[in-house]
Structures are given as C-alpha cells and as structure tokens.
C-alpha cells in the first residue's frame, strides 16, 4: 500500500511533514537529512527538486534552490542518491518540484524512477488540474504515484470538490495567498478558512502549508486539519546550524514531542 495513504489511516491528527531542497546545504546531504528527519519523528518528508525559476517560492526556498543547483543537483543524481532510500526510510516520501524539469526528463521516465525508488507522491505546483486530467493522470496511476493538488483561500467550492475527486492521498491546503515563507503567523481569518474547508467533509485528508514555522503555528494549523507542512523555517534552521543532524533534532523537537521514535 502507498505509504502516504497508510500514514493517514494510522494517524489523522498532527501529521508533521517537513520540506527540504535536495542538494542543500550540500550536494550529498539528501540521505543524511532524510535519516535525521525520520529519527526525529516527522511523519512525512517532501524532497524538493530544485528549479531555476521557482515562481511560488519566497526568498528562502529560492535561495536553497539556487545553492542546490550550483552544487550540481539534478534529477539523475537525486534518483541515484535515493536508490536505496527504502532500505532505511519507512515514512512517507513525497517529491516536490516544478513542471519544466519533469517535462524535459520525460514525465513517464520520471514517474517510473520515482516509483522504483519508493517515493509515494508528487507535488507540482504549476501543473494545472486540466493538464493533469488530460495528459498525465493515467501515467500517475500506472506508476502508483499520487498527485497532490493545492487549494487556497480563493479556490471556489466547486473546484475544491473536483480536486478532492481527483486526489487520492491528501490535499495541500495553502494557508494564505502568498509565496512560501511570506507569512509567519496564522490569523483568525486563516483559522476560519481551515474550518470552512473542514466543513466540506472531503474524502482526502488536509495538510496545511505556507506560513507554518514553529510550534504555535503548527498547532494552530493542526486544529482544523490533519497536519501541517513546514518548509522555509526548516531550510533556515539548516542554514543556521552547520551540524545538520543536531539542527534537525532541535528543530523537530521544538515543533512537537515525538509520540514514538521511528527506527
């Protein structure tokens, strides 16, 4: 069974997902970061595939992408680094990246290699719903990679239901109308938005992202969702502490107490 789906069957509250950019801070830090994150008790990891022009990202993730590309990260290398990832990592693994690198790599070849390595799902913020349905849905299903859609405070209700119908793992609830890392608090208005979406009783779990940076915002975001995603704040923590393992341990424990330690 798909590990991401399995995760939400076992755990429906306070799911913590952490995003990092592959190739940052060092070209070969990918596996170490994954192992440390699992050890620290996160439930899911989003592995960012760096792109030269990340339109939906704020300065922190832009910077990490620039460094990663300068370090020499590319898709072949990422798949090589994560070839044996499932010998060590049992938590849910999601890839995140922009459409153009996938198009050049070949969407089918990409999905095939992602599946071979044991990734569960893919987030492509600039892949439109219509293009997914028309051109790529069959391929995603063939390789059993779940496509994760985003919804925002502006997404109309009808469209949310359409996205729910097309989704089969979780829905990425963008907490605010902004780029990643642009805001660092969760307002009452955002809480109302989370409540509104929760009231739609969608079949898919909801993970909130954008603007989740610490324990307080994580807990607020989790109040009406199944969990939350932290990106920019984690990248910042990695940048500030050169001891990656310690930085990860400190960061994750500042967000939540692990209810159990993964092996």
């Amino acid at each position: 069974m798909n590990r991401t789906k399995e995760l939400f069957q076992k755990k429906s509250k306070d799911v913590l997902s952490v995003y990092f950019t592959a190739g940052f801070p060092d070209l070969n830090s990918t596996m170490d970061i994954l192992l440390s994150l699992q050890k620290s008790g996160v439930d899911m990891v989003e592995v960012g595939m760096p792109f030269s022009d990340p339109l939906a990202d704020g300065p922190i993730i832009q910077h990490s992408s620039e460094v990663a590309l300068r370090n020499g990260m590319n898709l072949d290398l990422l798949f090589e680094q994560t070839k044996d990832v499932r010998k060590h990592i049992t938590i849910s693994l999601v890839l995140m990246g922009y459409l153009n690198p996938l198009l050049q790599y070949g969407v089918e070849k990409f999905l095939q290699r992602a599946a071979e390595n044991g990734f569960d799902a893919l987030i492509v913020p600039d892949l439109p719903v219509r293009e997914y349905e028309f051109y790529y849905k069959d391929l995603f299903e063939k390789y059993k990679i779940k496509n994760i859609f985003l919804i925002t405070p502006d997404t109309p209700k009808e469209r949310i239901h359409k996205i729910d119908a097309l989704s089969d793992a979780f829905i990425y609830l963008v907490s605010t109308l902004g780029t990643t890392g642009a805001k660092t608090n969760i307002s009452d208005e955002q809480q109302d938005y989370f409540k509104r979406i929760a009231s739609y009783q969608l079949k898919n779990p909801l993970l909130a992202g954008f603007g989740i940076s610490n324990k307080e915002t994580f807990e607020k975001a989790c109040a009406h969702t199944n969990g939350a995603i932290i990106g920019s704040a984690f990248i910042k923590a990695l940048e500030q502490d050169k001891n990656t393992e310690q930085a990860i341990k400190n960061f994750v424990s500042s967000i939540k107490q692990p209810e159990h330690i993964h092996k």
Partner: protein, 404 residues
C-alpha cells in the same frame, strides 16, 4: 490553419496557463472576462480615444527612400517609435489599465527589460492615478538608466530583481511572486505576448492596432492593403504579434521575426530562443525556451535589454512550428551597424531592439518590386550610452589603423 488561441488558450501545441493554484482566481477571472470587457463599445471608445489623443496614433507609415535605394526595394517603416513614451508598449498598457479599472483593481505591477514597458505602465498609472510597482533586473537598471529615471519621475516604484541573470526573466519571476502575494487588489500588466492564457492573446489584440493601421495606410499609399513582407524583432514578441496580427491569414504576406543572436547563436551568449530552444514551460506558458538537459532555464544574452529573454510568445512558437513565419537571428554587432545606418540614411535613431529588425535587410531575399514593412518598434534615446560606446570604439580602431 488557425493562428488564434483555442478555448483552452493554446496556439497549436503552445500556450496554456501553467499557474500555481494561488493565481487561479485572478487568471480565471481574466480568461472569462477579457473579451467581453475589451469589446464593450464603451471600452473600445475610451481605448481608441486615448490611442488617438494621448498616444498620438495612428503612427506614420513612412516610405524610407534612402534606405529603399540602398537595398533596391520599397521599404516602409511603421513608426511605433513616435508613440508617446517612445515605443509600441503603450498600446498594450492603455488597454490593460482600462481593463484593470473595470476589474476593480487598485494596484498595478509590471516587469520590464529595456524599461519601455515599465515606462509605458508607469505612464498609464499616472494617467489613471493608480499605484504602480515595476520589477526590473539589476543589470537592466544599470544599462537602461534613463528609463529608470523616467519611471521614477512618473511616480512608479522600481524594484530591482537580484536573482539569476538579473534581467527580464528574473524581473518577470518577481512580478509573478508579487502577484501571488497581492492577488486580491493587484492587476499584473504583462508587457509581452507571454505568460498564462489569456495574456498572449490579450496583448496581441491590443497591439494589433499596428497591423490594422498598416493595412489602411498601405491602401492609401500603394492602393493595396498587403505588403509582400512584414519584419519585426522578437523578444517575447509583442511588437511582432501586433505587426503580424491582421496578416496572419494572408498567406501571401511573408512574416519575418528577428531574434537576438547576441554574440552568435553557437556562442552560449544568445537570446535566439527559436534557434536553440526546445519546448517547455516558462512563466506559466508552454512555448519554446532556452534550457539545459535538466530543464533548468538558461540565462540569455543580448546587447538589447528588450530582447534578452529565454522564452518567446506561444503565438510565435506556433508560427515557427507551422512555418507560417520565418525567424532569423541578428548579432549584437549587426544590430549596431543597422542602427548607425538608419541614423545616417534616414535621420532616425532606432531602439536597439528595432535595429535587429532593420538588420534583417542584410539577411533576407526580396525583389525590386516588393513592398517591405519594418516595424520600428521604439526609439533609441534609451540606448545612447551603448551607441556612443560602440561609436567611440570604432573611431579608436579607425585611428589606430590610420596610425599604422
């Protein structure tokens, strides 16, 4: 063959709207309403009046006699350089500011390369008393200083884009991010026929006044509406889209787009997207673009800031694929020589961008009887520093040779 967008915003294999969900509402609103709004009689009246009284349209179609003599054919220059603000860009910004007002937007953002679109946007924002923020690459801010000053004088805030190549591509990224962060009150005035649907089609329609006038003016001057060829430079391709628009279905009119080869298409320092690019997605649009094997967008180069873009409008990618238009490329050096030639033969200082179109005369074949229209998209005041530098270098070289 259709050269217009289909209901999903595609020109053949190119176009679409590859936007993050964060922009869905804004882009959807535009897609659903842009045609309705711009063809309202009230809108058309206001648009036409402003183009006439404020911009100074129609722009002349000028028979360039000495240039024609030199090339032994009949060359007409469409004088978009004589528009208010000095380039064709204002045709589009007038249209989009009227649209933004009708959509109830209170803040305008724009990207700019050479600064002409930024100036044209700052101008219409002053005219309509709307807040204006223009994103411009740090490199371009340096090489197009006069336009930066003009924007500031007009009340716009100019924000440098400091990422990547620090040119037009990066300014566009920053503008899109601003739009994501301020989607509720802000309209993004894209300056070229690029970006998500409906921008390529909308901008082409606003620029189509260029070819509409060419037809009328040619009819008056030579008794027939169609020239044998239309030549225009292409970065994103808005002036070319406007100059080609009403000739797209006139298959006997040759359409020639001129890209910037930079230092040469094989040198790694070029902006000739169609010459070396491959299909992909840039700025929410499927089109041809310059990229590496892993789909990372590569940094373009051209002496001309307005052509320094790694993508191209989807209409042009389609015209290229269907061979409806011919695309050639012109180096920095060739463009500079064409600019100096026009100064001396016709007393017109062209923009560096437009000089690429002029230089095409050296590359294409034509006969004595033909009528060729070159879209002179902008004036060269903003490029004086580059021109003077080149002129001084040439003079030094000359002196050096004489001394030997």
């Amino acid at each position: 063959m259709s050269y217009h967008v289909d209901e999903f915003g595609y020109y053949g294999n190119f176009g679409g709207a590859f936007i993050p969900e964060l922009l869905y509402k804004n882009v959807q609103e535009l897609q659903e309403n842009y045609l309705k709004i711009i063809y309202e009689p009230e809108f058309q009246k206001e648009f036409t009046n402003l183009l006439h009284d404020y911009v100074g349209r129609p722009t002349p179609l000028y028979l360039a006699k000495r240039l024609s003599e030199k090339y032994n054919t009949n060359i007409y220059l469409k004088r978009e350089d004589l528009n208010h603000t000095g380039a064709h860009k204002i045709n589009n910004t007038i249209g989009q500011i009227l649209l933004a007002k009708r959509l109830g937007k209170t803040r305008i953002i724009a990207e700019t390369g050479a600064g002409q679109h930024g100036v044209a946007t700052a101008t219409v924002c002053a005219l309509m008393n709307i807040e204006c923020v223009v994103y411009m690459g740090e490199v371009d801010i340096k090489r197009q200083a006069p336009n930066v000053a003009r924007m500031k004088l007009l009340g716009a805030k100019v924000v440098p884009a400091t990422c990547g190549s620090k040119t037009l591509k990066d300014a566009t990224n920053e503008a899109i991010r601003d739009w994501i962060n301020n989607s509720q009150n802000t309209h993004y005035i894209i300056g070229s026929v690029v970006g998500p649907h409906p921008y390529p089609d909308m901008v082409a329609r606003f620029q189509s006044v260029i070819s509409e006038e060419i037809k009328k003016q040619l009819k008056e001057k030579i008794g027939k509406e169609n020239p044998d060829a239309v030549i225009a430079c292409v970065g994103g391709g808005s002036n070319a889209a406007g100059a080609f628009y009403h000739f797209l279905n006139e298959e006997n009119v040759k359409l020639i787009g001129v890209e910037a080869a930079g230092k040469g298409i094989d040198t790694g320092h070029t902006a000739a997207t169609l010459a070396i690019g491959t299909p992909g997605v840039i700025h929410a649009c499927k089109t041809m673009l310059m990229q590496d094997v892993y789909g990372q967008i590569t940094e373009p180069y051209s002496i001309s800031a307005g052509l320094d873009y790694p993508g191209i409008g989807p209409l042009h990618a389609h015209l290229h694929e269907t061979k409806r238009a011919q695309f050639i490329s012109i180096t920095d050096e060739e463009a500079l020589q064409a600019a100096f030639q026009l100064c001396k033969l016709e007393g017109i200082i062209p923009a560096l961008e437009s000089s690429h179109a002029l230089a095409a005369l050296e590359k294409i074949t034509y006969s004595e009887q033909e009528t060729i229209v070159i879209n002179l998209s902008g004036r060269g005041d903003k490029d004086l520093e580059t021109y003077m530098k080149q002129m001084n270098a040439q003079e030094e070289k000359q002196t050096h040779l004489q001394n030997q």
